[in-house]
């Protein structure tokens, strides 16, 4: 019984164990050891990736893919560098504007994919060009101003616990409850697992798809907001790395690109695992220039591990699509 449930959760357990091991190694190799300061820096970087990975996660869950995640993050980040410089009411309005930017971008993606019926790869490639162009228009060179009190509040620690970890925990709990206990969350899994059955159950494919994209866009907005908190600037050129890493993070976290498989805990573990590997490489003396090589290698290893299930396939027909 326990063995069975272990095997069922293998997609999540392997990255979780890998993450735990690597995190211990990271803390031990870090010259300053385990302290709130070290963990805060690490968690802030990790949080950026967690939010970006969630932006990808909801779209992948309904069997889509979003190549505009990076562009949406860049655009929200640029908007943040204009909107959240003030105090009081204007600050709150600014935060809403940043999150709204992400939400609007994701909603537009959803409209194009679900109503326009354009395959998500090409659709988001095109909308991504529009978003990153807009970001570049708003801020040709990195810069801008961000309320530093807010930034301090968001990126330091509450007692011994980094604020970013609290944020991650909050977002995971919200999403886990939503995915598990609401009709909307279950319909996301339904559409991702079997469009046909979902439609027969009475789930609106179009509405669910649009909602998934919009929710992903909102997460991209959160990521853009948090980047401005960490860097205190807006930069239109940050997009491409986030698109790549968001896909890598969810693949590492055991989310199936075929849709319908994987959960919010996997997203967090995948993103933090990826960040820890990058941080480890930074300290291990490997040339920083070769970093993309190792990022690619980890991604390749992660999906190759996922394909080990092929060894159990008895009927060769099952190897082929459709």
């Amino acid at each position: 019984m326990t063995f069975d449930s272990l095997r069922r959760n293998l997609r999540f357990l392997i990255p979780a164990v890998a993450f735990a091991v690597l995190f211990v190694i990271y803390i031990n190799t870090h010259p300053r050891g385990f302290s709130t300061y070290v963990v805060t820096i690490w968690a802030n970087q990790g949080a950026l990736l967690v939010f970006a990975a969630f932006a990808q996660f909801f779209v992948v869950l309904v069997r889509g893919i979003d190549l505009s995640v990076g562009a949406m993050i860049a655009l929200s980040n640029v908007v943040a560098s204009y909107a959240i410089a003030g105090d009081g009411a204007s600050l709150w309005f600014g935060i809403l504007a940043v999150l709204g930017t992400g939400l609007a971008c994701g909603f537009a993606n959803g409209l194009v994919v679900a109503l326009g019926r354009i395959p998500p790869i090409v659709a988001t490639l095109a909308t991504g060009a529009v978003y990153s162009g807009s970001a570049l228009f708003l801020r040709p060179t990195p810069g801008g101003d961000v309320n530093s009190d807010l930034s301090d509040a968001m990126t330091y620690a509450i007692g011994p616990v980094p604020t970013s970890l609290v944020l991650i925990a909050a977002i995971v709990v919200v999403f886990a409850v939503m995915l598990r206990y609401t009709a909307f969350g279950l319909s996301l899994y339904g559409v991702g697992s079997s469009e046909h059955s979902a439609a027969l159950t009475g789930i609106s494919l179009i509405k669910t798809r649009i909602a998934a994209h919009a929710l992903g866009g909102l997460c991209a907005g959160v990521a853009g907001f948090y980047i401005s908190m960490v860097t205190l600037t807006g930069d239109a050129g940050i997009g491409p790395t986030y698109t790549l890493n968001s896909i890598a993070a969810i693949v590492l976290g055991g989310i199936s690109l075929g849709g319908g498989i994987g959960g919010p805990f996997g997203v967090v573990v995948g993103a933090l695992l990826l960040k820890t590997v990058a941080a480890l490489m930074f300290f291990s003396g490997l040339p920083p220039l070769a970093q993309p090589f190792f990022e690619g290698l980890i991604l390749a290893l992660a999906i190759t591990l996922g394909s080990l299930g092929l060894l159990r396939v008895r009927n060769r027909l099952k190897l082929f699509a459709q």
Binding site: V112, V122, L136, L310
Partner: protein, 326 residues
Amino acid sequence: MTQSIKTLPRLSLSRYAIDPAIFLVATGCIVLLVIGGIVYPSFLSPGYLLQQLQIASFLGVIAAGATLVILLGYIDLSVPSAITAVAVLTTTVGGSSNPEIAVLAIPVGLVGGALIGLINGIGVAIFRLPSMVWTLAINSMLMGALVFFTGGFKPRGVTPPLSITLALDRTLGIPNAFLFWIAVILGVSLLLRRTIYGRYVFATGNSEKAVFLSGIRVRLVTVLTFVAAGVFTAIGAILLAGYANQAYQGMGDTYLMPVITAVVIGGTSILGGCGSYAGTVVGALFITLLSSILSVLQMPEAFRQIVFGAIILTMLLMRRFDRSNR
């Protein structure tokens, strides 16, 4: 028995009908030419148009490989790094002080491209990894390996004379690159329409299972297609290196989006099994004209990206992929 064979050609009659997508993009090209001619009269001069054809050739040759892969129902995101890698490899070998090695520059480049394609193909066909993630990982690894290899500096090397002749020179006033592209167009069209391999590609794109059950070696076809795509990318990279007379970091980065867009707006379904290289050719011309007009209008980079994305989106929406979403 004989009757069933007689009915076969009727099935393929539709291949002579013009795909509405090609018609739409061709109309788009004409509109662009008219706009270009109004805004900037010398846009329509033969010299300028020939130069556009020359530039479109590089895109078109690289997109030939992407067309094959997309027809199979896969996608190759390793194009940018593959272009840079092959260009750096070719110029490095071409810059060798030993003339006997330097001669081998282009063959080595082609083999390099084929190897990248082979790795992509093995991952996708044998290990059944999702092509998008696998080629993305390969792209990342190649990029890292390249930056490490060149130390982050501009790679030193000499472009092989043949690639300069092919990419820059003209025969009877027509750019060699365009003549070469015409040869590629004929070759790829024949390959897709008149050979067994072409049939297999379309069939695999439609239903891999059915093709497997027909006794066709699906995995071999898939690997071969990726190798062919790698070789086309390599040819494009060698031409680009000749055109710029150098290889540099990130020279392929700007090509991923145009290549995929050229294939897709040309009517090839991103889901595979349906489309043509002719569509890609028109798509490549359209994209080249579009970016050339945007630069003639001296639009800032930001607006160029927005307009580029918006126009492609509009063209895709006008066609409305008919994905049977029952």
